[in-house]
Amino acid sequence: MTEEYEYVTDDIEAIVEDYELPESLLHRIYETIEARGGVDLDQADEIAHAIHSRYEDSRVEAHDPVGTVSAQSIGEPGTQMTMNTFHYAGVAEIDVTQGLPRLIELVDARKTPDTPMMTVHLEEEYAENRERAHEVVWQMEATKILALGDISTNVADMIVQVDLNEDTLAERWPTVDSVDTVAQEIAETIEDALGVSTRRSETLIEFGPEEPSYRRLLQLVEELRDIVFKGLEDISRVVIRKEDNEQTDGEEFVLYTEGSAFGDVLSIEGVDASRSTSNNIHEVYRNLGVEAARETIINETMETLKEQGLDDVNIRHLMLVADIMTNRGEIESIGRHGISGSKDSVLARAAFEVTVNHLLDAAVHGEEDDLDGVIENVIVGKPVSIGTGDVALRMGSIEADGGTPEPSDD
């Protein structure tokens, strides 16, 4: 390692290495020594010692009740957040649930968020070209019939007429050469979805109920409107935005979607799966695993806090919450249906919510409460095994115990 540094000798290295410091700090020490053109061994030792002591100071102390501190650090700013659910986050065009409701949603680990949304980054060749980016958009956005052409209902002949717009077809199916093929495809989709037979001449598609029925006709029109001809049903809208690319320092097109279908989107050609994300933590979990879900929980909570101007909350608190939510390898909510409800201790569960049921079940199953946790010990009136309660303090002088004082480490 010292090869990189001219003035950092093996002796200095040996001295500095003696202090168990993290890699990054070691490097910074070597760089500093290098910048000063070398130091003598005493100085190296002193520097390392001073830095080591400061490093030790900055670490969490053993028995620090980090859980409670983190919970308070997230809960306390909750009182300062807005209840206003809708407000545009980042993208002006897409409404996203924000503030306290969003925070609650995340902590609850809801199966679907109130406003599902994805941020889709594109691979290089697609990201820098608006046309190519649009190709991806057309594959994602749910295309309904109204976007493709006009519908007219002919009551006299009991016929629904769809007049497709050629330009739109050409735009949305850029890879298909002939408009005719596309129109045929659309006609077939209608046939499959509605169970009717269609007649097609150029871009005009006609169909009607088998037997003349006014009700059936209107019903067909209603059903026609819901058919998804292209794209993913869950994604109702896609917005393209030009943003700075952090990696290449250039600009790129980023897609924001209303609605989320993460798994399907990841497999679309042109989507950069490594940077795309969804605000639905369960979708991320299903497609990318717990580690990714954990990361998403951290990012989403941080984003929610940031939006409220509370970005000074230390990210380590959010990490702890995300870690406990994903500790068992799947996403667990915080609360009665998740972590609090699956605690080992009967008393802890009873003290949280649905008191009576927990006690009755415990009786039937013959459970035993070992009184390990915090709440149980508060209940029975014993010191809790956290913080200063976790240390067994022994009073009395060393002489009285018949021992000799231990030599200090340094």
Partner: protein, 976 residues
């Protein structure tokens, strides 16, 4: 039974009726409580063997008096078994999954093994096993015949809450009519000619004669015959027969279930037998759990549980009498149901579908479940949250002369809260003096304890006498005195800084006094807030409080890793005035500014004025408070560069960013790099200096401070008028149908957004115009710029224009149909019709504007109310989920059962208290190296300290200990 000293574990299980009888002090047979003389009736509900509540009486079971006797259970022998409501679901599950004949679980041996393994596996993994349980029951229920004794099984119907039926399909009474009608030709189908009896016989494979017998109703086709007929006719010939299962039947059934089988269902047979879920004996809680209250008029008022027990005993007796008298089955069943109802409501009075048992007054009774449940219930109200002694609560008020570590305690409180003194030769004199002062005099004593353990109350009469007796080995409960440590708290306790330890300063009057700089962590103000104080009772807790909980130890917030305590409000205005523009002071003025601080000598004057008088600058005076080795550079909120070199403020204005709470740079650096004690001294002195400074300059705000010249007012009007024009333009474009909608928005939404935008701009420009006309020394401007209080927006609204009022983030749109108020035309889209307030607060609002403003204001109030409850619950859940997590010696984060949650806290083991979330490299390697290489140390000790070889001794008191203390090392020593 001996009471254990410490509880090691708690086992849960069901109780055997025999155990109920064994532990019972007496059988209860009469529903009466007290006789005419007011004595409890023997074998009644208030039997003296169940414990005592009246003082002076003796418990007939254990012989101790009320207070030391916890009470003893009694029991009622129920005339017939009844179901325990809490287990109705489990009873149903058991009935469905076990055989009605042999009681075995209706699963084959393989299936049983499989489920048992599944259960065990889930238990080992600490996962929920209810799923396995449910599927086991589902599987067992499928069996139509018992796999063990092949007895046919029937479906069980459960009628909530406590009735069970066995459902059997039997041949319907009108079977012949049903067959006949099924044989008739279908009137809709012309091809169907019906079925003749001979055809039926052929189809079903029965004899024709038998078919005819059946058709005439002479023969009942049961079993196979019925099925054949049903198949041939495609008709249903059965009806359901409901056979009610009495609790005694169920009990008999459950007794047959073998232990191995219930294990598969997740029941622990060693602790709980299923038949125990059906009560034959009812335990009667001791009287101490249901004390009766004597009202003022001498009448006794019984507890709800007692009322319920009275009901149970009465019905129980009637049941027995009727049964002995041989009453008809119908009456017995009615009484049985009634008994079931009373026992049910005794356990839980909030069962859906059952009318709750009510008190005479109509109030529903609070029975066993209700006592445990909910926020005020036993678990959350009494066990997790306990009431304590040695606590006090009163209104708080500010006192800038106190240190932030101190709290002013009213003498009355100090006389009530005591600390235990162990008398030794060293404190004997003091102890005697305390006792001599008695309970009324201030540093007095309330109780003494002799070495033999006897406690004596100190009274005005005996205090002199007692004082003489005090000797080594006694304990004296003395009053709180200056320097004692107490815990201070303000609710809601949202973070750990809501509970901090303070040192006592006993004061006159009746409020707690605190330094204003501790308001931010407590989120306190003085508009009537009350706070709680707790006097600590053990040496261990006092030591912990001093070292860990004292205010100065809590200067840094773990939420964002910066100081949460610092200068606020007037302090900031004060330092701003003192340092902005660097004013000059004469010697008298300078000394006056510093007089409340510990600085007692002035530095070299900065210069001389024209008439030869020396002068000192504001920056210079502020620098006196800084330690000499402080070097800092940062940009203040006012925007100028603040430079501090070697403890001297070279340039820049000291404002919120420098000394404020919530991350003031100077305070933050002192707390992190120097010491908490140094930071405490600094904050105290900055507050004192700032108060002196603001008094020197004078600082007030009145209505004239928000007025702007007429010309400016006209400009504002103009700006607003032009905004109105632009809004009108937008409306015209919209009405012409030419407005282009923004992507993803409707045209209506687009219009709203654009109008909002225009009006927002109008307010901003009004604000800018107003701002231009305010002098820099305008107090409102000073406060806004320095960050002391308020913002430029507040000022804009006072002087320029209040702006658009919003409800749900939109312009005000509600009210009448198509309009907000009847003052406007329907569908008027203009600014003023939708809540734009063009006037300023100073100018005054028109009635309509006022109304809109009130609408916006109301939304804010509702929002706050909803938010507090929601976020309170969120915090409760978070704390409950995370409370067990603790950092370990090896740096991992584990819960109390040892499960690792993080291998390194926050991925790098860095404490959020010591490192701000915005910092990347908390350790300044360069600076450290420079100092070591340049060897800039005044002494070897300083160097040792810098290197971290020698730690600063812990400061434990405002008055004593190392470092900077109030007594300035005058040799005053702490006494405890």
């Amino acid at each position: 039974m001996q009471t254990p000293k410490e509880i090691g574990a708690i086992q849960f299980g069901l109780m055997d009726p025999e155990t109920y009888r064994d532990m019972s002090a007496t059988k209860i047979i009469t529903a009466d409580t007290y006789d005419d003389d007011g004595y409890p009736i023997d074998m009644g509900l208030m039997d003296p063997r169940l414990g005592v509540i009246d003082p002076g009486l003796e418990c007939r079971t254990c012989g101790s008096h009320s207070g030391s006797c916890n009470g003893h259970f009694g029991h009622i022998e129920l005339a017939a078994p009844v179901i325990h409501v809490g287990f109705t679901k489990l009873i149903r599950r058991l009935l469905r999954s076990t055989c009605r004949e042999c009681g075995r679980l209706s699963l084959t041996a393989e299936e049983q093994d499989e489920f048992r393994d599944g259960l065990q596996r889930n238990e080992e993994l600490g996962e929920d096993w209810t799923d396995v349980l449910k599927s086991a029951v589902r599987q067992a229920r499928k069996a139509s015949r018992c796999p063990h004794c092949s007895a046919p099984q029937h479906d069980i119907k459960h009628e909530k809450p406590t009735t069970y039926y066995e459902v059997q399909d039997v041949l319907a009474g009108d079977y012949s009519e049903r067959i006949a009608s099924a044989m008739q030709p279908d009137p809709d189908d012309e091809d169907d000619s019906g079925m003749s009896p001979s055809e039926l016989a052929e189809e079903s494979g029965l004899d024709l004669s038998r078919v005819n017998e059946i058709l005439s109703g002479e023969f009942r086709p049961v079993g196979e015959d019925r099925k054949k007929l049903e198949k041939a006719l495609d008709a249903d010939l059965t009806e359901e027969d409901m056979n009610k299962l009495m609790p005694s039947d169920i009990r008999d059934w459950f007794e047959d279930i073998p232990d191995e089988d219930i294990e598969t269902l997740g029941i622990d047979p060693s602790r709980s037998r299923p038949e125990w879920m059906i009560l034959t004996v009812l335990p009667v809680p001791p009287v101490t759990a249901r004390p009766s209250i004597t009202l003022d008029n001498g009448q006794r008022s019984e507890d709800d549980l007692t009322h319920k027990l009275v009901d149970i005993i009465r019905i129980n007796q009637r049941f027995m009498e009727n049964r002995e008298a041989g009453a008809p089955q119908l009456i017995i069943e009615d009484l049985w149901e009634l008994l079931q109802y009373h026992v049910t409501t005794f356990v839980d009075n909030e069962i859906s579908g059952t009318p709750p048992a009510r008190h005479r007054s109509g109030r529903p009774l609070k029975t066993l479940s209700q006592r445990l449940k909910g926020k005020e219930g036993r678990f959350r109200g009494s066990l997790s949250g306990k009431r304590v002694n040695f606590s006090a609560r009163t209104v708080i008020s500010p006192d800038p002369t106190l240190s932030l570590n101190e709290v002013g305690v009213p003498e009355r409180v100090a006389r009530e809260m005591t600390q235990t003194m162990n008398v030794s030769e060293r404190n004997l004199d003091r102890a005697q003096q305390y006792v001599r002062n008695g309970p009324e005099g201030h540093p007095g004593a309330n109780y003494v304890k002799r070495p033999d353990g006897r406690r004596l109350k100190v009274t005005e009469k005996n205090c002199e006498e007692l004082a003489e007796k005090i000797g080594v080995g006694w304990e004296v409960n003395r009053h709180l005195i200056d320097g004692d440590i107490v815990i201070f708290n303000r609710q809601p306790s949202l973070h750990r800084m809501s509970i901090m330890a303070h040192e006592v300063v006993v004061m006159p009057y009746k409020t707690f006094r605190l330094n204003t700089v501790v308001c931010p962590p407590y989120n306190a103000d003085f508009d009537g807030d009350e706070m709680n104080m707790h006097a600590l009772q053990t040496e261990e807790s006092r030591a912990e409080a001093r070292v860990l909980m004292r205010v100065q130890e809590q200067l840094l917030s773990p939420r964002f890793g910066e100081n949460i305590i610092g200068a606020i409000q007037d302090h900031i205005s004060g330092t701003y005035l003192l340092t902005n523009g660097n004013p000059e002071f004469t010697e008298t003025q300078a000394l006056d500014l510093l007089r409340a601080t510990s600085i007692d000598t002035l530095p070299e004057p900065a210069g001389e004025s024209d008439d030869g008088e020396p002068y000192w600058t504001g920056q210079q005076l502020f620098s006196e408070l800084l330690p000499d080795d402080l070097n800092l550079e940062f940009t203040s909120s006012a925007g100028d560069e603040v430079v501090i070199e070697n403890g001297q403020l070279i340039s820049g204005t000291i404002d919120e960013d420098a000394v404020g709470a919530f991350g003031g740079e100077v305070v933050d650096t002192l707390a992190k790099v120097h010491s908490k004690t140094r930071a405490r001294v600094f904050v105290n002195e900055v507050a004192s200096l700032a108060m002196r400074a603001i008094m020197h300059f004078g600082f007030s705000i009145g209505i004239d401070d928000e007025s702007i010249p007429q010309a400016a007012n006209e400009q504002v009007d103009e700006a607003i008028a032009s905004a109105y024009d632009r809004v009108q333009e937008l409306i015209e474009i919209y009405e012409a149908g030419e407005l282009e909608s923004l992507p993803g928005r409707t045209v209506d939404e687009t219009l709203e957004m654009k109008i909002m935008q225009q009006l927002g701009k109008a307010r901003d420009s009004a604000g800018e115009i107003a701002e231009d006309h305010f002098a820099d020394d305008n107090p409102a401007v000073v406060m806004a710029r320095s960050g002391a209080r308020g913002s430029m927006l507040n000022l804009t609204q006072m002087a320029g224009c209040v702006g658009q009022q919003a409800v749900r983030g939109e312009r005000i749109n509600r009210g009448y149909e198509g309009r907000t108020l009847s003052h406007y035309q329907p569908n008027d889209l203009s600014a003023e019709a939708h809540g734009f307030v063009e006037n300023s607060y100073r100018g005054g609002l028109t009635p309509r504007e006022f109304f809109f403003h009130a609408m916006g204001g109301r939304e804010g109030l509702v929002d706050t109310a909803v938010r507090t409850s929601k976020s309170g619950y969120l915090q409760r859940r978070l704390i409950n989920a995370l409370s067990e997590l603790e950092a370990q010696y090896d740096g991992t984060v584990r819960d109390t059962s040892g499960t690792v949650v993080q291998f390194e806290f926050g991925e790098d083991g860095t404490s959020p208290v010591k490192v701000s979330s915005s910092e990347d490299n908390p350790i300044d390697v360069e600076n450290i190296a420079d100092r070591i290489i340049d060897a800039e140390f005044d002494s070897e000790a300083e160097k040792e300290e810098f290197l971290g070889r020698k730690k600063l001794p812990t400061n434990i008191s405002e008055y004593a200990g190392p470092g900077l203390d109030k007594a300035q090392n005058l040799g005053v020593e702490s006494d405890d």
